[in-house]
Structures are given as structure tokens and as C-alpha cells.
């Protein structure tokens, strides 16, 4: 029994692939150099039983003012690409973590001047809140925390003692 079922499933795959391509291109509204996929906010694209595209997103920090905005941006991108009835669903589990930021995303953050979060899993010092943060400008590790909060609550303000530049550090969660 090949035939229609196969074609249907292959076209469904094509739909999913295209929706994934569209959704993954959505930038973070606060740090537009990284996408919602880089940040691990976009979890998956699925097709509901009625064939409608469903994007699953997970909120980052509770109370982040960008959460609703991000959902709206993903929805609008999908609608503009022709997925008129697309839906966005919020997934809470497993909870978002900065460990979910992709390597590409971390590199983009660094070149944007934001020190990416430590990988908590392999840094014991991060566990005790005294992570060694490298300067995103010159790479030196002789840095100090100026304030627990930087340009947004999810970032801390640091200063590099080598190149003297201030910078934001994306905090671990």
C-alpha cells in the first residue's frame, strides 16, 4: 500500500520543512543577531491533525517582557509565509535553560559584544555564582562584575580589566 499515503507524508514533510525554515529565521527582538532557534526558544514545528502548522515555543525567564512578543513574531512570520492558520503553543517542560543556546548562537552573542552564558553542566564555578567570564571584546579573563543587572534583567554588567571595556554577560539559568 504505497502511493497516496507516501505522497501525503512526503508533502507533509515538505510543509514542515518550509515552516521550520520560516520560523527558525525569526530574530530575537532584544538581541536581533540571534534567532529564536539559536536561543532554544523555538522547540519544534508540527502539523496538527487538521494539517495546521503548530510552532512550539518555550518561555525564557519568567516575566521576560519579550515572551509574548516572540510568540507573536513567530506567528506573523508563519502567516506571512502562507501558513494562514498557524498556531503557536507554549511548552513549559522541560524548562528553558541557557544551556539550550546553540554553539552558533553563543558565537553570535560573543561577536555582538555579549559574553555568552557559561555552560553550567561543565563549570563548577558557575554553580557557585562566581563564574569566570571572558571579555567578548578582547577575550581576556581578567573581568569583574559591576552589577548583577545590565541592559536587561537577564544580563549582568561586567568590566574587562585588560581592555577596560564594559560588557553585558548573559546570565546562566
Amino acid at each position: 500500500m504505497t502511493g497516496i499515503a507516501d505522497i501525503k507524508s512526503s508533502s507533509q514533510d515538505a510543509v514542515k520543512r518550509e515552516a521550520w525554515r520560516v520560523a527558525t529565521a525569526v530574530p530575537d527582538p532584544e538581541i536581533p543577531v540571534v534567532t529564536v532557534k539559536d536561543l532554544g526558544i523555538l522547540r519544534s514545528i508540527d502539523l496538527a491533525d487538521d494539517g495546521v502548522v503548530v510552532a512550539s515555543v518555550t518561555p525564557t525567564y519568567s516575566g521576560c517582557p519579550a515572551t509574548r512578543f516572540i510568540e507573536q513574531m513567530v506567528l506573523e512570520a508563519l502567516q506571512q509565509a502562507g501558513f494562514e492558520n498557524a498556531r503557536v503553543e507554549t511548552v513549559l517542560s522541560p524548562a528553558w535553560t541557557t544551556d539550550g543556546i546553540s554553539d552558533a548562537g553563543r558565537e553570535k552573542l560573543r561577536s555582538f559584544g555579549i559574553a555568552p552564558p557559561q555552560k553550567t553542566s561543565n563549570s563548577k564555578r558557575a554553580l557557585f555564582g562566581e563564574a569566570m567570564v571572558n571579555c567578548p571584546h578582547c577575550g581576556a579573563n581578567d573581568t569583574e562584575r559591576v552589577s548583577e543587572f545590565g541592559s536587561t534583567p537577564c544580563k549582568a554588567l561586567y568590566r574587562c580589566k585588560t581592555c577596560k571595556e564594559p560588557f553585558d554577560y548573559f546570565k546562566c539559568l
Binding site: L92, S93, A95, T97, G129, E148, L173
Partner: protein, 145 residues
Amino acid sequence: MVPFWREMEKSSDKTLAAIAAKASKEVAYHLRHTSEWVIRLGDGTDESRERMVEALEDMVIYTGELFEKDAIALAAVDAGYAVDAAAFQDEWNHTVNTVLKEATLELPEVGHMQSGGRTGRHSEHLGHILSELQYMQRAYPGMSW
């Protein structure tokens, strides 16, 4: 309330458990952050210490409500959806006292705790807060931007 969220992760309600797992990580951060400030200000200058003593005297009466429960909370505990916050009072006291000790401060003894928020009985402050929060909507009904 780190222990509260830690235990809520075991809730039989999947959504509540997922929210708790997220909240656990965040409250641990808030506890660290606020502890640092309490220690810095309490064990700081004469001025900062005096203000912290005053702040503790003003605020401690609101901590009792953390461990109160109403009929809804009790029903949620019975159904296995929620945990009884009162069970964490000792752990909370221990955490708070450990930080205060390092900050050279003490939890003031108070005769009574403020109560009523959970049953909708609020103090005068709420009216002022609400009028501030609702100012735009009341001044410009149906506004949008």
C-alpha cells in the same frame, strides 16, 4: 520560597509541576541575589545598617502570610496538586536567619502578623496601588496603542 517550589515540582498536575521546575531555578537565583544585598547593607555602614533594621521591622509582619492557607489551598493540597507551605516554615526560618546572622541583623520579634490578603481583605495601601495601575485605562476608556 525555594523549598516550596522544589516540592511543587512533584505536583500531580503536569502544568503546575512544569511551572515549579522553572520557578525553582529562578527563585534560587533571587535568593542568592537578595542574600548578597541583605549582607552588604546589614554589614555595611551605620546608615545602611540602620535602614535595614528599620526595613525588617516594617516588613516582617508580612512574612506570616507566606505560610497561611485558605480553603482553595487546602483543597489543592488534598487533591495532590499543591503542597502545604506551612511545612517549610522551619527551613525558611533557618535560611533567613543564616543570612541575617551574616548580615549582623536579627529577625525582629513581633506580636502579630498581617493577614487577610488571601481572603481579599487588604490594607489601605492596595487602593493607592490600584488607582496608580489603572490610571491610564480609567482616564482613557477603551484606549489602545
